[in-house]
Symmetry: C2
Subunit: 135 residues, 2 copies
Amino acid sequence: LQKTSKLRMTRQRRVILEELRRVTTHPSADEVYSMVRRRLPHISLGTVYRNLEILAQCGEIQKFESGGSPRRFDGNPAPHYHIRCLGCNRIADFPVEVSLDFSDGQMDWAGYRVTGHRLEFVGYCPACAHKIPES
Amino acid sequence: LQKTSKLRMTRQRRVILEELRRVTTHPSADEVYSMVRRRLPHISLGTVYRNLEILAQCGEIQKFESGGSPRRFDGNPAPHYHIRCLGCNRIADFPVEVSLDFSDGQMDWAGYRVTGHRLEFVGYCPACAHKIPES
DNA sequence: ATCCATGCAAAGCCTTTGCACCCGA
DNA sequence: TCGGGTGCAAAGGCTTTGCATGGAT
């Protein structure tokens, strides 16, 4: 963290990071808010949002855009794959070996600069098995 | 469309589908609204949202969850990959050959039913090249 | 004639932001 | 001290929804 920037490690920012690192549940901002409030009862939701954004930009945590459902966060910054439950929208680590026949980075295509990719698996978690559409 | 369901092909629904099929721009709901209003000036935004959702569930179109930025839609229901611009959040078709060493469908893992995956490439479109972070 | 679909507007959900005060480096 | 950070609350962007009317089958 901090790198060459002028970011400060406030109590709020540190606790948010610590709480996120303690769990593997990939919580939403609101869930992080609940977790952190147990230690900092007066923290505001806005502060949680601001710090999650900053920490994600620093590369300290990962942010998952989901659309419709709330964003989720991962205290583990190391690259790994995930599975998203179509029933409850929760995310879990998904330890698969995936080999994509291309490399991220400075690939170009039709005027585009291709910098990376996003891959996530989808399915139903045990608790949502009953929501699997029959067909 | 329609399958065995009781869906009706109203003028609004048909025009929305036709307009979406005419373009390859992967428009947002609001952009679809603008396109459709040229032919149906009295259509409501709510109707556009409702029909985009229904058409996506029918498999007639594709829906892209983006998070933060508005959802985007693709009139082409056939599976193909996309690239999302990190500058303007727009989506374009990305005709790459990708071989993933797993198959979608009825795979199970740790109590999960894995039904598929989502893969999209990210980068910068020609118009947003100036937004590429130097580093 | 049914009952799904529409238009309108209000409400909802999540997230961002303005501002005055606070506090970490 | 000094400028980034915080709490609070309001605003914002996108999407969904309730309700009375309309129209496809």
